[in-house]
Structures are given as C-alpha cells and as structure tokens.
C-alpha cells in the first residue's frame, strides 16, 4: 500500500499574537491535496489571519507554515512571490482594482507575470470569465457589479494563472440565495475540474458544510474540533454543537460578563 500523500499545506504549532491577544495558540492544521477544507469559527477568531499567514502576508511569532514543503514563514521575498503566483485568493469583497474594468482586472495577473500576446490574453480572460458565467460582463466597471458578480470576477482573476491552491475568505457573506448557490457550485466545480486544493474560511455553516471535504472549527486560538461534516455533527464538544446548531446560549454565553443583575439594578448611580 502506498503511503498517504503529504498535505499541501501544513500548519504546525502556530502561535500568533496581536498586541497582548493570542490569535492562535499552538494550532495544527493539514490541508489535503485536491480537497476542499473549511476553516470555521465565530467572527474575530482569526480565520482571515490564518489565510494571510498561509499566503505569507503575515509572519507567525512561533511555529511553522509550509506550502508544498516550503516554509512560508521564513521564505525570502523572491521565492515567496514565486510561490504566490501558484496561489489564488478570493478576498471577502472581491478586492477588484477599481481603476480597471472587468476584463483588465482578470488580465492583470497575466499581463504582470507572462509575456503572452494580447490576442492570447484576450482568449484566456474570456475563458476564465466564461467559467464564472460573466463573459458578457467584460466591459463593466467594478462599480457596476453586484456583490456576487464582483466575487465571481475576482474568482476568475484568482484562477487566471492556474494556481495549485485557492483560498476563499468568507465567500458567502452578504450574498442573496442565488449568488450563494452560484458561488457554492463554482467553488466545488473549479476545485474538481482544475484539480485545485481549496481552503474556505467561513461561518456560513450550511453552505460550507455542503461542499467541504474536511472542516476545522476554531475558537479562542485553538482547534476545537475537526473532521468531516458528518463527524462534526456527532462531536462531543459542547462548543462545536452550539456553533454548528447556532444555539444562542451555551459555552459561549448570551450575556456579556457583568455584575449580578439584581445588585446592578439596585445600586444607584451615585454608589458606582
């Protein structure tokens, strides 16, 4: 029997602090090749920060982040940029360049990194836009696009250089049901058709669970649970159950820490 393939992304004992706050406190994460891995957790748990650490935009205080065997946290500028050419990232709001139309946005990485002729770039851009269903929108300005369309254009731009890995930062936030459905289908289709490895950072449980092959749940700087969607459904962690079922009270309390209610009401303002 052949040994299992090594993960494409390996995060080991990752420690990252911002000011005095520990964002990650020694987490381990494996992203398997060809799979869609979801990183889920409440807002403010550092999910986006994790993507930035994998992309080398931030450096950890301690621990290792490796992509295809290369230590991202200690790579020099030139090899890091070479690695990034093989990584695509979809930002939460699309992050389209506002001074350019849809066509030029998708053509941007091709023009920056290749010596291809304009007719070839045109064909490639139209193919990428066709893959996200927006070939007819190539002339539009970013300001003329809806939120969902902007994300699809950004997706076409992110896959322009045929990356090995795609990172999605909250792809479903603020989308109407149709846009959400389109994005869910696109992420799955692109992953399988292009042989990508995908990482989705999200707190939209239903949509993410429907396409993720493996899920990590993060809270307070730790990995609380991980497994397939089915395995997590049976997880013994009270926190995981509260998060997955969206319960208003539980390990994460409904009330912000405060003094005892009765005493608070009966204490006059002067006594405070």
């Amino acid at each position: 029997m052949s040994p299992p393939p090594t993960p494409l992304v390996e995060v080991r004992q990752l420690l990252f602090t911002r000011g005095s706050r520990k964002i990650f406190d020694g987490i381990d994460i494996d992203i398997q090749r060809g799979k869609i891995t979801a990183i889920m957790g409440p807002s403010g748990t550092g999910k986006t920060t994790l993507l930035r650490l994998i992309g080398g935009q931030l450096r950890p205080d301690c621990g290792a982040v490796s992509v295809e065997g290369q230590r991202v946290d200690s790579l020099g500028r030139a090899p890091l940029y070479a690695l990034r050419k093989r990584m695509g990232m979809l930002f939460q709001n699309g992050a389209l360049l506002t001074g350019m139309n849809v066509f030029d946005n998708v053509a941007f990485p091709l023009r920056e990194h290749t010596q291809l002729s304009e007719p070839l770039i045109r064909d490639l851009v139209l193919m990428k836009l066709h893959a996200v269903g927006l070939r007819g929108a190539w002339q539009l300005q970013p300001s003329e696009l809806s939120g969902g369309m902007a994300r699809r254009v950004a997706l076409a731009r992110a896959i322009a250089l045929d990356p090995m890995i795609m990172m999605y930062d909250e792809p479903f936030t603020g989308q109407d049901p149709i846009s959400m459905g389109v994005l869910v289908r696109l992420i799955r289709q692109l992953n399988d058709a292009l042989g990508l490895t995908s990482i989705i950072v999200s707190h939209d449980i239903a949509e993410t669970s429907s396409i993720a092959d493996y899920i990590y749940l993060l809270s307070n700087g730790k990995v609380v649970a991980h497994g397939t969607a089915q395995e997590l459904g049976h997880s013994g962690s009270a926190w995981a159950q509260q998060f997955l079922k969206g319960l208003p009270d539980g390990p994460v309390p409904f009330h912000y820490p405060a003094e005892e209610y009765r005493r608070d009401l009966l204490t006059s303002v002067v006594d405070r």
């Binding site: 070479a82 360049l97 920056e112 990194h113």
Partner: protein, 260 residues
C-alpha cells in the same frame, strides 16, 4: 499621575520616530522600484495625466491671478520711484524664484497630493493592495512608484506653467491696464533674469517640492488606518504636512541659493 504626561510624551515621540522610519523605508522601496518603470513608461504617463494634467486648470487660473496681483502691487510701489519700467523684472523674479515653485507646490498638495492619499488609502481599505500582494505583484513598485515619478516630473512643469501664465497676468495688468511700456517690460525681464541663478534655482526648488509632496502623499495613503475615518485623517495630514514641509524647505533652499 505625574508620570502620565511624560509617558504620553514618550509614546508620541516613539510614534513619531516609528512613522519617520516607515516613511524612509517606503521612500527607499519606491526608489528601488524606479528602474523597473523604464520599460513600462506607459504606467508613468497615465499618472502624469491624473497627477499633472488634471491639476492644470487650478495652476493656470491661480498663476494668472497671482501674476495680475504682482503686476498691480509692483506697479504701485515702483511708480513712487519712477521705476515702473522694471515691473517685468519684479514680476518675473518673484514668480520664478519664489511664488512659482512654492504656490504650485501648495496647490499641488491640495489638488493632487490629497487625491493620491485618498486613492492609495482606499485601495488599502478595500484590500486592493493586499490582493496585489497575493497576486505576487508588489504594490509599492506597481502602484506607488509610477505615481511618485509622475509627481517628480509634473511639479517642475506645473511650476513653469504657473510662472509663465503669471508673467502674462502681470503683463496684462501692467502693460494693458496701467500703461507700462511694453518693450521695457520684456527687455528688462530678459536682461535681468538669469538662467542659472534664477530659473535653474527655481526649477531645483520645484523638483525638491515635487519629491517631498508626492512622498508625503503616498506615505500617508499607504500608512493610513484602513477605515473611512483613517483615510480622511490621512488626507488632512497630507495637506498639512506637505504644506509645512514646502514652506520650511523653501526657506532652507532660499538661504542656500540666495543667502550668501
């Protein structure tokens, strides 16, 4: 209690020097990116249009009025000494040595500098700069360096246009309205304005102001807190800091050029 103001002073001092350090690192990074622009000079030309050409209207209109005021004030002073025929020299020297570079730099800071800061700050706030980094494109080289070079090229040209239009404004008031001799206006100007001492020094000033104003504008945008409030504060700082820097540097440069 007593320590609080000292702590505050220390914190502000550290913040100031950290910003100064970041500003200089950015400047070095921009300069390192300039050679790569030569084969892609189209990027710079685009920025010369938005930084320079779009500032032309305000520069021309202001130059005209400043020249007209100089003509009027100069005439009123000179006529007391019967020296109104030297009006051309007074107008030209005032413009070429001082008002051209300085007023252009102040207007440039207000028109183009604030626009640069807002643009870069908003690109940061909407993650466009981060997206570029993730596409393996260095935003400092791709976005900031062409704008810097455009500011460096545009400022002396705008200052030259300001001075030229100002001389025409002075001519219009002095010769056209107040009856100064046309030949004297031009010939005295030609005889007394020196290419090296006056014009070249003025051009040097505007190159320096171009570097400083564009650098401050780009740094403020790049260093802005990526929120609406952060960008608005950065824009204000650009105008205030670059105006003060221009006026301070003008004194230093004038002292070096004409002081002895």
């Amino acid at each position: 209690m007593l320590l609080a103001p000292i702590q505050e002073l220390g914190r502000k001092g550290l913040d100031f020097f950290q910003r100064l350090g970041r500003g200089h690192l950015l400047f070095g990074h921009i300069l390192a990116g300039l050679p790569a622009l030569l084969p892609r000079f189209g990027l710079v030309i685009q920025q010369v249009f938005s930084v320079g050409v779009l500032s032309l209207v305000i520069i021309v209109v202001s130059g005209l009025f400043v020249g007209m005021v100089l003509g009027l004030q100069g005439y009123n002073t000179l006529v007391d000494f019967g020296a109104e025929e030297s009006l051309g020299v007074v107008v030209a020297l005032s413009l070429v040595r001082e008002l051209g570079p300085v007023v252009t730099a102040l207007l440039f800071a207000g028109r183009a500098g604030s626009a640069l800061t807002a643009e870069i700050g908003l690109m940061k706030a909407t993650e466009q700069l981060s997206a570029m980094e993730m596409m393996a494109v260095d935003p400092i080289r791709r976005v900031l360096a062409p704008r810097f070079l455009a500011g460096f090229i545009s400022m002396p040209l705008l200052a030259a246009i300001f001075s030229a239009v100002g001389v025409l404004g002075g001519y219009f008031v002095g010769v056209g309205l107040l009856g100064v001799d046309q030949g004297a206006y031009w010939s005295q100007m030609q005889a007394k304005v020196d290419v090296y001492n006056d014009i070249l020094n003025g051009v040097t000033k505007s190159f320096v102001f171009g570097v400083v104003v564009t650098w401050i504008a780009l740094f403020e945008g790049y260093d802005a807190i990526p929120t609406a409030e952060g960008v608005s504060r950065a824009t204000t700082r650009t105008v205030v800091h670059s105006s003060l820097a221009v006026l301070g540097l003008d004194f230093i440069l004038t002292a070096l050029m004409f002081g002895a």
